[in-house]
Symmetry: C2
DNA sequence: ATATTTGTCAACCAAATGGTTGCCTTATGA
DNA sequence: TCATAAGGCAACCATTTGGTTGACAAATAT
């Protein structure tokens, strides 16, 4: 299995999606993020590490606090892939239509 | 760990994304899908099972063949979540602005 | 000065994931 | 009729994942 740490895998976990949701409303430190979740701060920190490794969260030190900010640009990878798939889907009969058209003309 | 089998998890795997990509261009049976991948047909079948369980692929029997067709509607869940997060992000200063506005008026 | 808060590091764990192989059933084509 | 192609099923495996606990360092507050 290849080492994967991409945006798709990052947003696959519901907890991480909720974290992104929270951070979309403004920056928070790790303890504040953990407030709504019934898991340890260490678990939260691990999620944050994954999110920041793929660019969805950026960190900044502020005294002893680690301030986390959402950075949603990388989600373009996701919407781009969906858009591309839909494009293919919409054009899926093109070849067939071209073939039928050609056949008709002959 | 809760039982998860949702669209987000389904598209987290690169092989499954490639399968969707292929199927977006037209229906294929399991053997045909496996053509481009260096993994066993059983592995492909497992991926297809996951994709069909979350509605991204629909199956139809055709003799001994299992024809797979892409069904991209469920990807709305993904784009909707991204859109919602971006909306929150864009409105993230609203509360602060409202507060400042109110303070100014007093 | 000391207690508390914030977060890190490391070890550990059970379950999930993505893959394998072998065997079996059932259509299909020669 | 019989070999073969398509796929299902089950057992197994290594690695990854998402979580835990305990100990620790360093800011901050009292």
């Amino acid at each position: 299995m290849i080492e994967r740490r991409d945006v798709f895998q990052a947003i696959a976990d519901p907890t991480r999606r909720m974290i992104i949701h929270k951070l979309s409303q403004g920056p928070l430190n790790i303890t504040q993020i953990g407030q709504d979740f019934a898991i340890s701060k260490q678990a939260i920190a691990k999620h944050i590490k994954i999110l920041s490794e793929c660019g969805l969260v950026i960190m900044s030190q502020k005294g002893r606090q680690q301030v986390c900010e959402a950075r949603l640009d990388e989600l373009d990878q996701v919407t781009d892939w969906v858009t591309e798939s839909r494009k293919l889907w919409n054009n899926r009969f093109e070849k067939l239509e071209a073939f039928l058209d050609k056949t008709k003309k002959q």
